[in-house]
Amino acid sequence: MTTKTGRSVAEMEPEKASQSASQSSELLLGLYRSMLKCRMCDEKARVLFKQSKYGGNFYSAVGQEATEVGAAYTLRDDDWIAPSHRDWISNIIKGAPLKFCYAQLFAKATSPDRGRSSPAHMGYPPLNVITPASSIAGQLNVGTGVALGLKKLGRDTVVVAFFGDGATSIGGFHEALNFAGVHRLPIIYVCQNNLWAESVPLRLQTAVTDLSVKAQAYGFPGVTVDGNDIMAVYDASVRAIARARAGEGPTLIECKTYRWYGHSEIDPAKYRIKEEVEAWKKKEPIGRFEKVLVEQKLLNDQKKAAMAAEITAEIDEAVEFAEKSPYPDASEATDFVWA
């Protein structure tokens, strides 16, 4: 079967998550829980949008959790994330309190940006998550600048920058990666190749198949991993982060993954064929990883339910906080223009 992106689904088929026997059960459960939390928070965000609890738009990352969690899970508080529009959950992974994440969606005065940015464009300054602009690839450029600064300061801190397949076409991507290559900056470029940029399929975005080859133009390693295999993403990221911390420079990690839903909550995504969506749903990261954990007897239905209940409670509390928070006062609109 050939998808609209021109590649066969079978070709991309990763059947089940890889096992890393050497990893501690704490880590494995932690990764699982983080993915589950992301999924549940994201689905809740979608529901809230559909209920018109907030306006603007939301860009769901459901289906891409392994990429986000695998790449960011081991980051320290002082490490940086440079997120894009689909990475609201990266704040959650980094440890931002959920109440602020929902306050952001609701554009309340309690949100980290006091209601300025669009719902999904969240940053969290206390944990070095850069408030994103919408401009595609902007975060790669600014994130690369942060990496330069960190290197100059002699820190062993790193930057993880997220972006999509579409972002690889714009000049900013090129300038950032080239600069990082020349200066061997401590940054990990995590491309979430979900085969589509809004309605534009990969074949109209690029003539190459694996976006990781682009690293060759910049003189640093590029790897392609199954982005729905949490351990594959995790392993590649841990290596890349170690490289970066050691001053050995950047890595480009292409994670092949898929977004379940439309580009945003107002996109019915009619440009994708049903078979493609279904095939990818079968390969979704959480269920796959669950099987591994169950096999290893680390997880069972009871534990899972308890976990979900805990997360639900946390989400409910956060949403309540957000709902009850006031909107910023109109007079605040002129604050923070100049320092």
Binding site: S134, I170, S199, L204, E332, A333
Partner: protein, 328 residues
């Protein structure tokens, strides 16, 4: 025959008809093809004309514009879309240094008949990066034409004019007009010339210079003032570059008062140039200061509803300004 159409359907019709009429015309941009565009401005065109003439491009605004420029240089008539004006900045080098200057720098050896459609404007919860205007930058650049229609009739007629114009035309579409500006639109071919202002409401007491979505808001305010016995003339400066100085000055000379209204931020907004023209050339006709009602000087329109509301110009703000100007 004319029917009532939405602004966006009028635009869409112009694209359909011109692509049928002239096979040199093609479209390129992000998501304009299969999906028909974020706002459906290009709906139906992909199915009718195929992917050679309705091209979904890579996510790269610079090459979208450059691909248009280059193909225009070999005789085609490209229409490029920048999905939101907030994302025109990556294409500035191509628009400013190439499109605006290729004819000049080659002394007419190469021409650049491209149309660049750009969706702009606030008031739809777009937030900082889906509400900008940015037209002012392009008004600073001779060699470009810049238009921003305010009615469905003009949307179609100016689009046809833009495509046929031998110059690069930046065609701004205020997103709030897409489905609120409905009006009579002839079925056939017609052109609304790029250049002249349109006097949308004649009046003798005061001139309002405005454009785009604000034209409608200013007209509402003018009706309100009529009740108070103040007769306001509303001038829709639908071509922003080059400006129709004569049209602008004629109205101000008649009414002796000038109010300028735009949604964009105040400082260096297009209102600045309008005010400067009037202050220089109609000074002796003026009975009062030239007043600007505009967005505030903040980087862009913030998302949260109270903040967005604070930014936007509305009827009340315009009426208040009209009332105090009327006192002069």
């Amino acid at each position: 025959m004319a029917r009532s159409l939405n602004f966006i359907d009028a635009l869409n019709e112009a694209l359909h008809q011109e692509m049928e009429r002239d096979e040199r015309v093609f479209l390129l941009g992000e998501d304009i093809g299969v999906s028909g565009g974020v706002f459906k401005a290009t709906a139906g065109l992909y199915d009718k004309f195929g992917e050679e003439r309705v091209m979904d491009t890579p996510l790269a605004e610079g090459i979208i514009i450059a691909a248009a420029i280059g193909s225009a240089m070999v005789g085609l008539r490209p229409i490029a879309e920048i999905q939101f004006t907030d994302f025109v900045t990556p294409a500035m080098d191509q628009i400013i240094q190439q499109a605006a200057k290729i004819r000049y720098r080659s002394a007419g050896g190469f021409d650049c008949p491209i149309t660049v459609r750009i969706c702009c404007g606030g008031g739809v919860s777009g937030g900082l990066y889906h509400s900008q205007e940015n037209a002012a930058w392009f008004v600073h650049e001779p060699g470009l034409k810049v238009v921003m229609p305010s009615t469905a009739y003009d949307a179609k007629g100016m689009m046809l004019a833009a495509i046929r114009d031998p110059n690069p035309v930046i065609f701004f579409e205020h997103k709030k007009l897409y489905r609120t500006a409905k009006g009579d639109v002839p079925e056939g071919d017609y052109v609304v010339p790029i250049g002249p202002v349109a006097v949308r409401r004649e009046g003798k007491d005061m001139t309002v210079l405005t454009y785009g979505f604000m034209t409608q808001v200013a007209l509402d305010a003018a009706e309100e003032m009529a009740k108070q016995g103040v007769d306001v003339e509303v001038v829709d400066v639908r071509t922003l570059n080059p400006l129709d100085k004569d049209g602008i000055l004629a109205s101000v000379r008649k009414t002796s008062k000038c109010l300028i209204v735009h949604e964009d931020k105040r400082t260096m907004g297009i209102g600045a140039e309008l005010a400067a023209i009037v202050a220089e050339e109609a000074f002796e006709d003026l009975d009062g200061p030239i007043v600007r009602i505009t967005g505030p000087d903040i980087p862009a329109i913030p998302f949260s509803p109270p903040l967005e509301k604070f930014f936007l110009v509305n009827k009340e703000k315009i009426v208040a300004a009209m009332e105090s100007l009327a006192k002069y």
